[in-house]
């Protein structure tokens, strides 16, 4: 059942607007040279940080479609009646969400790095940092989506909730991208693991609490 749920999440993700977060990501990378000017040295310095902010906001975009439609339509109830623990549902949602947005984002980072005049080494470091950090962003997005499901103006509320929680990943992830070395990599991995491990339980508790 969990495999079917992951496939369903990916199908819905891709038939929805899977390109939207990626387009948004590239848009920010495109706007940056216009905003700070075409100085290649300056762009190269701020490039990694820009990509991280772009990735963070891209992860936030599909948040209203992650949990709320399934709650409103009774799918979460039916999954519970089919004997599936809410924690398993949450895990499936995290995996499906990560698979729909992260691989595309990692590909889009290549043209984005060119727009920001980043060198090859910088791009490689950013790819590694994003690969480690995006699971945490996906986990946070699902947890926050479950916490805000059914609330009015859930989208903006979700942003306010998610962005502070994502700050540790942002700090260490951007530090890895900027050449922070081994310790930054370890710290990013550790933060990512903590968020990834905690999120299914937070999500499950939130799903149970929305049942009325």
């Amino acid at each position: 059942m969990i495999g079917a749920l992951i496939l369903r999440g990916m199908r819905r993700g891709f038939t929805g607007a899977a390109w939207l977060p990626v387009a948004f990501f590239l848009l920010i990378a495109t706007l940056m040279p216009f905003a700070v000017g075409p100085d290649a040295r300056l762009l190269g310095r701020i490039g990694a940080g820009t990509l991280w902010i772009a990735a963070l906001t891209a992860a936030l975009l599909p948040i209203e479609r992650l949990v709320e439609p399934d709650r409103a339509d009774g799918v979460l109830d039916q999954l519970a009646l089919h004997g599936m623990a809410e924690e398993s549902v949450a895990t499936a949602k995290i995996i499906a969400h990560w698979l729909t947005f992260a691989p595309l984002l990692l590909i889009a980072a290549v043209p984005a790095s060119a727009l920001l005049a980043m060198d090859g080494a910088g791009l490689a470091r950013t790819e590694i940092a994003l690969a480690i950090g995006t699971p945490a962003l996906a986990a946070l997005a699902v947890a926050v989506a479950a916490l805000t499901a059914g609330l009015p103006r859930a989208g903006s509320l979700a942003g306010l909730l998610l962005l502070p929680l994502a700050v540790p990943v942002l700090i260490f992830g951007a530090s890895v991208s900027g050449g922070g070395g081994n310790s930054a990599l370890l710290l990013e991995s550790a933060t990512s693991m903590v968020l990834l491990a905690g999120s299914p339980f937070v999500t499950a508790a939130a799903i149970r609490a929305t049942r009325t």
């Binding site: 819905r12 009774g74 799918v75 009325t212």
Partner: protein, 183 residues
């Protein structure tokens, strides 16, 4: 004979209001029960309590594996009906046939009328192998032919040793013992 569903002195409170207390009921194989009562008397809450989606405030509820059809469609709207039903159960053809949905197999779920959507939720229940069925307002939006189909599906389920708990404010086809709420 072990009951498929048993309420033992159950009390349920919603939003500070006591809906019922000291409620006891037992449904064995082949048995049916209709929950009636005016709007807001707690019929749907009782169904969700029986399903385990709500927690009782006092008493205890025991249940076997069950299937639930309520107002929520729980089918992917972008899929054709048959594929959407197959997410929940592999073998859907017989229950689709029984509820007259076979000719709609390739129609998108979003295009179904409210009566057809209701039949789809009933087909999901009929396709499950759960011995206990919980139906919340099963007759809503059904025409008389569909009502007859539902009656035949329910009779077949009861004859095979299943049990049905239905909440409805209108009379259900057949002989149903009644549990009146909100008195």
């Amino acid at each position: 004979m072990t009951p498929l569903l048993r309420f033992d002195r159950v009390a349920l409170r919603r939003g500070g209001r006591l809906l019922f207390e000291g409620l006891g009921l037992a449904l064995g194989p082949g048995e049916r029960l209709q929950v009636t009562g005016p709007n807001g008397s707690g019929k749907s809450s009782l169904i969700r309590l029986a399903a385990g989606l709500l927690r009782e405030d006092r008493g205890c509820v025991e249940r076997v594996k069950l299937a639930l059809a309520d107002d929520a469609l729980a089918l992917d709207r972008e899929l054709p009906l048959r594929r959407a039903l197959m997410f929940w159960n592999g073998a859907v053809d017989r229950s689709m046939e029984a509820l007259g949905l076979t000719h709609l197999a390739d129609v998108g779920v979003r295009l179904l009328s409210s009566g057809q959507a209701k039949r789809a939720t009933l087909a999901r229940v009929a396709a499950s192998d759960a011995p206990l069925w919980l139906l919340d307002e099963p007759l809503n939006a059904l025409d008389s032919e569909s009502t007859d189909r539902l009656a035949r599906v329910i009779e077949a389920h009861l004859a095979s040793g299943g049990a049905v708990l239905a909440a409805s404010h209108q009379p259900l086809p057949g002989e149903w013992p009644r549990l009146e709420l909100g008195l």
